[in-house]
């Protein structure tokens, strides 16, 4: 969990949950089927691209909108390993952490990331190395409580451990 390696996919500001999982897909019972519609209004090829790109780098207010945790689940189903954003919508941030998905707040600049960049995230030291652009970026380390939840794979896994 503490070190994550992957390739960047860039998204803009105010990407909302209706765009991540459109309402028409929300009642689907098969989450792999639902994942086929991920971000369809924003990038119809997104699902294909996740075969090689697996770290989302987004702008401000990522995940604004509804409480649908499916908007995190579809990313997990598509193999996304972490999400970096300039800021997160409140419920979406909770949903990411609760699902065991690292959520990193970083006020990044356009020159820091391009689509396809190979990056390495170190959650413990609060450091991202962009191997393609040959630069290193610091981010505010996640609070201890959140790191614990991530290490245990999300709050439900954490709860199960308590019961066991």
């Amino acid at each position: 969990m503490d070190k994550i390696e992957g390739f960047v996919y860039i998204l803009g500001d105010d990407i909302n949950t209706d765009a991540i999982v459109p309402s028409h897909a929300l009642t689907m019972r098969d989450s792999n089927e639902m994942a086929k519609y991920t971000l369809e209004f924003i990038d119809p090829d997104f699902v294909k691209k996740t075969k090689s790109l697996d770290i989302i780098v987004a702008g401000e207010n990522f995940g604004t909108g509804s409480s649908r945790e499916e908007a995190v689940k579809v990313f997990k189903n598509l193999g996304i390993k972490a999400v970096i954003a300039k800021s997160f919508a409140r419920i979406y941030f909770r949903n990411l952490i609760n699902s065991g998905m690292p959520a990193i707040k970083l006020k990044w600049q356009d020159a820091n990331f391009k689509n396809g960049d190979a990056i390495k995230i170190d959650l413990n030291s609060g450091n991202i190395i962009n191997q393609t652009q040959k630069l290193s970026l610091k981010f505010p380390k996640l609070p201890k409580f959140i790191m614990e939840v991530l290490e245990e794979g999300g709050i439900i896994k954490r709860l199960k451990k308590k019961f066991d």
Partner: protein
Amino acid sequence: MSYTIAEKIFKSHSQTDKIEPGQFIEAEIDLIMVHEQLGGRIHKEYEKLGLNQVWDPDKIFFILDHWVPAPTVSAAQMHKDCRKFAEKYNFVHNMGMNKGICHQVLPEMGFSRPGMLIVGSDSHTTTYGAFNCLSTGIGASDVVMVFATGVLWFMIPESFKVELYNNLKEGVMSKDFILTFISDVSTKGALYKSLEFHGESIKDLSIDSRMTISNMVVEAGAKFGVFMPDKKLENWLINRTDKPYSLVKPDKSAEYEVVVEYDLSEISPVIAKPPDPSNLAHVEELEGLKIDQAFLGSCTNGRMEDLRIAARILKGHKINPKTRMIITPASKEIYIDAMREGLIEIFLNSGAIITNSTCGACIGGHLGVLGQNEICLSSSNRNFTGRMGDPTSQIYLASPATVAASALKGEITDPREVLV
């Protein structure tokens, strides 16, 4: 220590001696609202825990409202899964699918009271802040946690104090204020914050109007939108609950990150253009824009005050034949009251379509879905791309008065021109 309303309520719901912004705490939940999300991931994840019961079946408010009655087979199956779960775990407050929209029915039944900490599987759970309690939206994993333990982690938010003075003018509604506020602070300007509404205007704002404001604070990113309590709230609660409660006011020297004042008499009718609720225009700038659909309803604006002003505008007139108007009362209670007051007859005679109480059109689910390139003027809360239907359709948000006036003309119209 001096505390804001949010800090006070968190303190009374946790074992922590001292509360300060940025701190992580575990808090005990008084009530959880859950709707169709239960039939999504929640029931599956909960079953995996292998528990025989939920923490407290008396503290769960369960209602079906998004896709009622089911417009598709998958929605019907989802409802079946929800009902099965609610029966298996003996939910005491199982509202079924004929009462209306969660954020209207829950307060109507007296479940939101001052001082409570309420969470719900819906982002507009902030609505109950109108009742001087803390309430906010959560996702599926959080719901599972509450069902199992009744406890949830929170970060203590900073608070913004929003002082309201003077009164809204004729034809201007609390929706115009909250849209103006969201535009001023932006969709992320209040991220994670607790908004506290204060000021002399509150006593003149109806409970309906307050609910509209608390409902939409989430569109500025806020965690809570809580109102100062007053006599009007207490009178409202008399008819709704016999449960005890205590009013929560902040300490005099409570610390606010931001203090901002609004003169409500300076607010005028506004419209949020696509694709987000902060993209503001004054109604005058858009006058004449043709609309295919006018939608009056949703948890934001489907209440009596909203229907009454629409009826005042529509009475004795016909809706423009090139525009369809869909009216969705927010609850069965409102539907019945509107019938008794003769509003439903006014709407039907004007050519509007009345639907049962549901989230239907607002979420692009059913009962008012938009086709390609269609334009809708809506009293709801979100104008995101594709939210109400085809991704090429466009949603403009406005007050019920502006929606009704525009339905009449078939184009965006200043309600002050038609109100007599």
